[in-house]
């Protein structure tokens, strides 16, 4: 029953895309591509819910030989466990809602059908990634979603900004993917397979024939783990490869909601979770730090954005950092829990912003002419070169809550959720679970690292609350700042508001509890870690579930129980585990509530009461503001490198040869392009080819010389004869 269901889930969206592609080849169109794709998605959704029951007994892999060589065989297949099903539901659910939303949002776009075809392709790839039971399959889905994000970011490719953004996204993630691929090569060399389950890496890792967890082994494994994680860094826009995600907002807003908030970017987290069993202490720590730093930095950047979508983009980055942090710190379940909750409320936020943007009717202008002239473009942004389209500029908004109540309410719910307002909002529970997990780890190990990480997470939580409410206040409260745009504004059509409502409902905790119950989500064991101090990560399995099953009624006991469960595998640390963790979640919860409240209060003072003025603060601590404003100068850094390299190039060619060689590329491109490419290109023309031509010329010249001996005077010839004879005789006398 499982296989056919999954097959249907995969095939429906694929078929929807295939139909578009094939007809497109003949320059035809399926009359209602949008209905087709949406229907496909809904079917997939239904099937995913059916699977909810299927999986419970035991996780299982269904594989077929995909690529069989003499020695090794690469198999493709599905692996179905609770996590898979959760992801399936999240993806299909959000995707269907986005489909519906898009019918309204994209209405009237010249490439309307193509948009849905792309969405279908994306859904297929994402689902394929989710259900794959081996690294190769994951990698395939991984790249395919990358392609879709490329296509969708560049959907309005007439805009140069969009064209640049999509290329940037693809290439940046590709850098990470190469790291992942190297990791895969390492694993393959070691384990002779890329499957994870069955007789895959996770079992062979215990098999001394393939791997022994001695010192070197662990080091090797750590490196491999980090390399694999590089893929996640790229896809989930973690530091330092995060710069592509904000630019990705050039794409249509539903795309941002689906791909760059709910699903694709979360794939990185999913991958990390999948690889959980082979994560060593070191690699976990690396992951945790990357996550933590990202969470904090991205949050701070988000404070000073004015583009509503960019705020959300940075908040996404920061939330993803959260999840990474969680998994890195061993709170596997918490990470995935946050993934799901985040998927819903972030999708909601994006769709909400989309509905706001749509309200400004600027979508078509948006699509066709990229207007570079609007009154609010201030100098700094000109410097940055990234101008905010007026319909996304929060400084044009304000007081919208009367104009578009549904949007307002739903977005408010999402904001409360993300800011971690207790207790009725899902975001609170997941975020709190993470904080608790990290703090618990810190206290149990009393490791400085985890205290620091906890600190980061906490600050991030506060800042998140601050900038999210800043967004709400600037958009929906206060007086309209741009009257004529405000007058145009109106509530969006049903097709857009209904998804908002559904998502708002999903942002309530109840729904999420439905899955994170008893026997459901279980952190997999990490068999290679047999050293005692790691034992807590190797629980008997059902604990993860337990924690959240009861989390409604009181987290601390639950977590205590979880920890007990965790230690029931080995008695060693039971006690301090108990003492260490009893209070952990309580403290975490209290602190998180405080910071959240603080954040909200501050932003209320700044942006609603205006007792405090953001400008004055900005001026008082200018450097910090600038730092945030310039996004920690990441883009400037990349550009700077590029510039300097270009200068070097100029010098280099000055020496290389006088003229500038044909084949030098102009314009801004990837860092290496200007230097290396042009160099090699010129090298190829001048040196490699040059040598060959030189040889030819020399031969020719020699021919010319020989010709000149042929003077035409007979006596010269005769002299040569005599000379030749004498020479020959002399030579052979000598021999």
């Amino acid at each position: 029953m499982v296989v056919p269901l999954i097959s249907i889930i995969l095939l429906c969206p694929l078929a929807a895309f295939a139909i578009f592609g094939l007809l497109g080849l003949a320059n035809r169109r399926f009359p209602r591509q949008d209905y087709l794709s949406t229907a496909a998605m809904l079917i997939a959704l239904a099937c995913s819910f059916l699977l909810l029951r299927e999986v419970v007994p035991s996780p299982e892999a269904h594989t077929v030989d995909w690529l069989s060589l003499g020695g090794v065989t690469f198999s493709m297949g599905f692996y179905l466990d609770s996590v898979t099903v959760i992801m399936l539901i999240v993806v299909t659910l959000v995707s269907s809602l986005v489909h519906i939303f898009s019918m309204g949002y994209m209405h009237g776009d010249p490439r309307y059908p193509r948009f849905f075809a792309y969405l279908s392709l994306f859904s297929f790839s994402m689902l394929f990634l989710v259900v794959s039971d081996n690294l190769l399959g994951i990698y395939i889905g991984w790249e395919l979603v990358g392609l879709c994000s490329y296509l969708l970011i560049g959907f309005w490719f007439e805009k140069d900004s969009a064209a640049n953004a999509c290329k940037k996204a693809f290439l940046t993630t590709r850098v990470g993917d190469v790291g992942m691929f190297i990791g895969m090569m390492m694993l393959f060399k070691q384990f002779k397979t890329l499957s994870l389950y069955g007789d895959g890496i996770f079992t062979r890792i215990t098999n001394p024939e393939y791997f022994t967890a001695d010192a070197t082994g662990i080091v090797w494994l750590s490196i491999a783990g980090v390399l694999i994680f590089c893929g996640a860094i790229g896809k989930s826009a973690q530091m330092p490869l995060h710069t592509w995600l904000p630019d990705a907002m050039e794409g249509p807003t539903p795309v941002s909601a689906l791909i760059h908030a709910a699903t694709m970017v979360a794939a990185g987290v999913y991958l990390t979770a999948r690889m959980f069993p082979i994560l060593t202490e070191t690699s976990s720590l690396v992951i945790a730090y990357v996550g933590g730093i990202t969470a904090l930095v991205a949050a701070t950047i988000a404070i000073v954005r004015f583009d509503i979508k960019r705020v959300l983009a940075y908040s996404t980055i920061s939330q993803l950092g959260y999840m990474m942090l969680a998994i890195g710190a061993g709170s596997y379940v918490a990470g995935l829990f946050h993934l799901t909750t985040h998927a819903f409320f972030k999708a909601l936020l994006f769709l909400g912003s989309g509905s706001v943007i749509h309200a400004f009717h600027a979508m078509h202008a948006h699509a066709h002419d990229d207007e570079h002239d609007h009154e609010h473009a201030d100098s700094e942004e000109h410097i940055l070169g990234s101008e905010i389209p007026p319909d996304q500029d929060m400084r044009n908004m304000g007081g919208l809550r009367h104009k578009m109540p549904i949007t307002f309410v739903t977005m408010l719910i999402a904001t409360l959720s993300i800011s971690g307002v207790p207790f009725i909002f899902s975001g609170f529970w997941s975020k709190d679970a993470i904080l608790g997990g990290v703090l618990g780890r810190a206290m149990e190990w009393n490791s400085a690292h985890h205290y620091i990480l906890f600190g980061m997470a906490l600050c991030a939580a506060g800042i998140t609350a601050f900038y999210m409410f800043r967004l709400i206040f600037m958009t929906f409260f206060g007086e309209p700042r741009n009257q004529e745009m405000h007058d145009m504004a109106h509530e969006s059509p049903k097709s857009m508001t209904v998804p908002l409502l559904i998502l708002a409902f999903l942002s309530l905790p109840v729904v999420n509890i439905l899955w994170f119950n008893e026997a459901y989500v279980k952190p997999p064991p990490q068999p290679h870690l047999h050293a005692p101090q790691h034992a807590y990560i190797a629980p008997d399995g059902n604990t993860g579930g337990k924690g959240y099953a009861v989390s409604l009624f009181g987290v601390s006991e639950a977590v205590a129980a979880e920890e007990e469960g965790g230690h029931s595998t080995d008695g060693t640390h039971a006690d301090d585990g108990h003492h260490g963790h009893g209070p952990a979640h309580t403290i975490a919860m209290v602190l998180s509530i405080i910071v959240a409240g603080l954040g909200i209060f501050l932003s209320w003072l700044f942006y609603h009461r205006r007792t405090l003025s953001a400008e004055s603060v900005a001026t008082t601590c200018r450097p910090l503001y600038n730092l945030f404003w310039h996004k920690y100068y990441f883009d400037e850094f990349y550009d700077g490198v590029l510039v300097t390299l270009t200068v070097w190039k100029a010098r280099l060619f000055a020496q290389f040869d006088g003229s500038v060689v044909d084949g030098i590329v102009n314009g801004v491109g990837f860092v290496t392009r200007d230097l290396l490419a042009a160099f090699t290109g010129a090298f190829d023309n001048r040196v490699v080819d040059g040598i060959v031509n030189r040889v030819a010329q020399v031969t020719w010249a020699v021919g010319g010389r020989i010709r000149r001996i042929q003077t035409g005077a007979i006596q010269t010839y005769l002299f040569v004869v005599l000379a030749g004879i004498v020479l020959l005789i002399l030579i052979f006398r000598a021999l």
Binding site: G21, G24, L25, N27, D65, W66, L67, S68, L69, G70, G71, V72, Y139, I140, G141, W142, E143, L144, L147, Y150, G154, F157, E158, D160, A162, A163, C166, K167, F170, L171, R174, V175, V178, F181, I182, M184, M185, M186, F188, K189, G663, I664, V665, N666, G669, F670, T672, R673, L676, A677, A678, F679, T680, G681, A682, D684, V688, D689, I691, V692
Partner: protein, 508 residues
């Protein structure tokens, strides 16, 4: 017999075309198409009826030819050759269709030469006698020389003679090596016994027998070098590659397709068929991973990948870019072969086939654009995506396949080669992965400069790709997807052969 029929039917076609009157051009084209479709049908039949369960050569014909030197007409196919035969036979009609409109002068001579070329290529992949092998190898030179030189672009004469000289230079060294093998083919423990032979299977077994002159490792190393240079020019391997960009840029579209699709493969096919199978010890000397020479082959592969990719990045001529990308992609083949384990070699062979398909697509696409805009300057376009969506779609497919997007055929070959190579040459392989990023860079960047952004007003009225052109592209596109989704489809053909080859390699 069937095989020989397949090889010589194009030759027959050439005679037929030459006998047709010069005026009736349509007829000439039709006849040519017919005579390229027959081999395709036969190739498909062979592909289907080929017994995948064995490594042995099948459909063997073996008749004496020149007794004085014990030369035989010996043809047969194994998994590797049948795959490439299919590729060759497939590209034949496609190229004929691609040349349907855009060959102005001397269509008759063009078609005749093309048919001769096809015979040469088919024969080369089927030959099992070293001498025959060489003759077919050279037989492809002449038609190619004329096809580039007569129907090529502005610098066609230069490109043609350059191609000719390079290849001839390579093949004379190969000739020396070949003769050396022949002369030693009957010497066991220093004494000559029995007749000399050119028979490849026999030679392979002899080279593996103790005390035989061919099994002497020094001898193998030298002969390996001789053959290697011969094939390296064809592949082409740095630094023998500079003929390729010129030849590609000047050649007419269909001929570029053949160049990239088949002729390059002749080089790598030779490496597998002769260098690896016949001189395992020679191969070992260059791939055992010890010292400089032990890494040299992998090093060459690495250089090809990175160097080719960066050169491609530097190009502004669309066709030249594709040409350099070919150099880069052939690098993966070399790397995979250097790995000499089943994933490496399989990856290399897959890459050979896939690159044949993909680069063919790319060149056809460039041709489509050139026929409309009459220039290939990448920066001269822009925003074509709005004007010609279908063309853009197909191009995107080809580019994605070429930059190794999983799910399309390009990925499987590259990934396998790298996976295999990593087991032997960690460092070089990791460095080679740079090629993957750069590959993505230049293709996406080209995509942006040509298709994205605002439409260049010059091309407001550029016509969309027409049915004939789509017809040439669709089969290739389908292959790209099928092989990406189901690689076993191709691998089943040569799995046994590869296993067999690896046994030979491990025997030493």
């Amino acid at each position: 017999m069937l095989l020989s029929l397949m090889i010589f039917i194009p030759l027959l076609g050439m005679v037929a075309v030459l006998l047709l009157p010069r005026e009736s051009e349509e007829l000439v084209k039709r006849v040519t198409l017919l005579f390229t479709l027959i081999p395709l049908a036969l190739a498909v039949y062979l592909f289907i009826s080929y017994d995948r369960s064995t490594a042995g050569t099948q459909y063997v014909t073996n008749v004496p030819w020149i007794d004085a030197f014990n030369i035989q007409y010996h043809v047969g196919i194994d998994g590797l050759s049948v795959t490439l035969l299919l590729l060759t036979a497939l590209l034949g009609p496609i190229c004929v269709i691609a040349s349907w409109r855009n060959i102005e002068k001397g269509i008759k001579a063009y078609m005749a030469l093309f048919l001769l070329l096809e015979t040469g290529m088919l024969g080369f992949f089927a030959a099992l006698d070293l001498f025959l092998f060489y003759v077919f190898f050279e037989l492809t030179l002449l038609p190619m020389y004329f096809l580039i030189g007569v129907w090529g672009g502005p610098r066609r004469e230069y490109a043609a003679i350059k191609f000719f000289l390079y290849t001839l230079f390579g093949s004379v060294l190969m000739l020396v090596a070949m003769i050396a093998v022949y002369l030693n083919s009957n010497i066991v423990n220093g004494v000559a016994e029995g007749a000399r032979t050119f028979d490849i299977p026999t030679l392979i077994t002899l080279a593996a027998t103790q005390g035989h002159a061919l099994a002497n490792s020094d001898f193998q190393v030298w002969v390996f070098v001789g053959f290697f240079i011969g094939f390296a020019v064809k592949v082409p391997i740095f630094p023998f590659h500079t003929w390729l960009p010129d030849a590609h840029v000047e050649a007419p579209t269909a001929i570029s397709v053949i160049l990239a699709g088949i002729l390059l493969k002749m080089g790598t096919y030779g490496l597998v068929r002769i260098n690896m199978a016949m001189f395992p010890q020679g191969l070992d000397h260059f791939t055992d991973g010890i010292g400089f020479w032990g890494n040299s082959l992998a090093l060459l592969g690495f250089i090809n990948i990175v160097y080719g990719s960066f050169c491609a990045l530097a190009q502004t001529d669309f066709k030249k870019l594709v040409a350099y990308s070919s150099i880069g992609h052939m690098g993966f083949v070399i790397l995979g072969l250097a790995a000499r384990n089943d994933s490496g070699i399989t990856g290399a062979i897959l890459q050979m086939f896939n690159h044949g398909v993909i680069s063919a697509m790319l060149f056809l696409l460039v041709g489509v654009l050139y026929d409309r805009a009459h220039h290939r300057e990448i920066n001269g376009f822009g925003g074509l995506g709005t004007r010609m969506p279908i063309y853009t779609g197909i191009t995107t497919l080809a580019f994605m396949a070429s930059l190794g997007l999983p799910g399309l055929s390009g990925f499987v070959g590259e990934a396998l080669s790298l996976l295999g190579a990593y087991e032997r040459f960690k460092f070089l392989t990791i460095l080679s992965t740079i090629g993957i990023v750069v590959g993505a860079a230049y293709f996406l960047w080209t995509l942006q400069r040509v298709f994205l952004g605002t439409l260049n007003p010059k091309y407001e009225a550029l016509p969309e790709i027409n049915g004939r052109e789509i017809l040439t592209l669709v089969p290739l596109g389908i292959l790209t997807i099928v092989l990406g989704v189901w690689p076993n489809f191709a691998i089943d053909m040569f799995r046994e052969s590869v296993t067999n080859l690896i046994d030979v390699l491990n025997a030493i």
